[in-house]
Amino acid sequence: MAKEFELNEVEVWDGNYATSQALRQAQIDVVAAYPITPSTPIVEGYGSYVANGYIDGEFVMVESEHAAMSGCIGAAAAGGRVATATSSQGFALMAEVLYQASGMRLPIVLTVVNRALASPLNVRGDHADMYLGRDSGWIQMDAFNAQEAYDLALCAFRIGENHAVRLPVMMHQDGFTTSHKAQNVYPLQDSVAYKFVGDYKPVDEMLDFSRPVTHGAQTEEDWHFEHKAKQHKALMDSRSVIDEVLVEFKTLTGREYKRVESYMMEDAEVALVLLGSSVETAVLAAKQLREEEGIKVGIIAPRCFRPFPYDLVRDVIENSPVKTLCCLDKSSPGGAMGALFNEVSAAAYSTGTRPLMTNYIYGLGGRDFAVDEAKRIMKEQKAHADAGHITTEIQQFSGLRGPKLGFFETRRS
């Protein structure tokens, strides 16, 4: 039986440590992991809890991230509660196996500490790895600070393991700005946390010898399409389960999370849409700009990146007088508009008001995103709103040195 870990009402934890504590409290059976900056302390922490008797589980050391996720799949198919962590290049190496995990409907929890993808080699935080996972069939949740990294990691098990869902869940946090920044975190006591997560109830587990089962069978044009459609429906339908779990978590802790967070949108004329630790920067900038210049700025922050909350984004837009929406993407778009711009535009196009939509690429490779730059972008959006049309190129770059870079203009007759 695992020992109880003594916890204070308030702890000073960084995002990595908070996440490793959540994995401990969920009493993971197996972690198969390969270390990579900046996510290493998550699995390092789990390893030390196993070694010191705080958890009845197995830490499996493997030769690569591809093997790490493969090991997780084996353990999950066998019937265990399984989690691991990775970042960046490790995530990229895992990519092939991520699709297997979701296709096999194994509710593995992958805590991703977001980091830029090489080349150029870079250990700092941007969202290139998170975006790489967006078609993999996983649920993707995004924490903006250490407390949320802890809270959402606990919720991740509840969501993925729900028998109506049975999908793997990625819990994202930003490299260094969240993972390595020590903040006040209010943890749950071990028994309370475990009671919330609950015992793992396996499905089709291979260790049930009375019902031998094959996982990951091959299908061709005969069956593949039907299985992928069923998987997609489970992912789309997981929205209601996510909502239920987040409500239950609020009842337990008082901390409220939604699939889409919104701030000051009720009277907002312009709004920024963004993810990750930049959300707190943007909220601060919006508050200051409201005070200083009376510009009514709001912030929309999808907490859930997949399934993308088209429904709630549309609700937020429709219940707000917003005229201009600026989506900020922290990932090199590779010959397109940013992914957040594309998703939010799809949601906005289905509203009656159809606000002006603009896109900024920002913060690549850990480039700082400061309050002053957020305010400059907000003021620019206000100029669009006043003019009634987009006065710049639709896609621009924020915080980039050198001449201005932008693409694609609105065609005005």
Partner: protein
């Protein structure tokens, strides 16, 4: 459908495919395929022909068409050593109570390992073209080889 030991017992062999029109809502979650109907205790101690296999178990699926050469078994020479049974990678040697019964031609892929590991002289298993009838193959079986000094 009655099930027997050898392929000639007609256990309902078929190539698996989408011949039944099943919609996306009816496929199994995560392509999890069960071998047996319901629960099975101690399956290892139940003879294959007596197990409640589902259609998703390879017992009722044939891969005979993958084979270009086949092993033929000669009962008159076999010493029931079980070498072929141990080495066959596709569990296609049928043996009951340590007595060799023959080849499961529905699952044999013609790799020839059984012939390779057969210790008798002449061998009790030899590879022949698919087109040659087993009786024809057996009538022309080679003689015992003399030891060369």
């Amino acid at each position: 459908m009655s099930r027997g030991v050898l392929s000639t017992d007609k256990r309902g062999m078929r190539e698996l495919g989408a011949e039944e029109k099943v919609g996306w809502d009816a496929v199994t979650q995560g392509v999890a395929l069960y071998s047996f109907e319901g629960e099975t205790k101690g399956a290892a101690f139940i003879k294959p022909e007596e197990r409640a296999y589902t259609d998703f178990n390879s017992y009722t699926a044939t891969v005979a068409s993958w084979r270009v050469v086949k092993p033929v078994y000669n009962r008159d020479i076999c010493i029931d050593c079980q070498n072929c049974w141990v080495w066959c990678p596709d569990v296609s040697i049928i043996s009951r109570d340590k007595q060799m019964l023959g080849i499961d031609y529905d699952h044999c892929k013609g790799c020839g390992v059984c012939v390779e590991v057969c210790p008798t002289n002449p061998k009790s298993l030899l590879m022949f073209s698919e087109a040659i009838e087993n009786d024809t193959a057996l009538s022309g079986w080679p003689e015992k080889k003399k030891k060369e000094k």
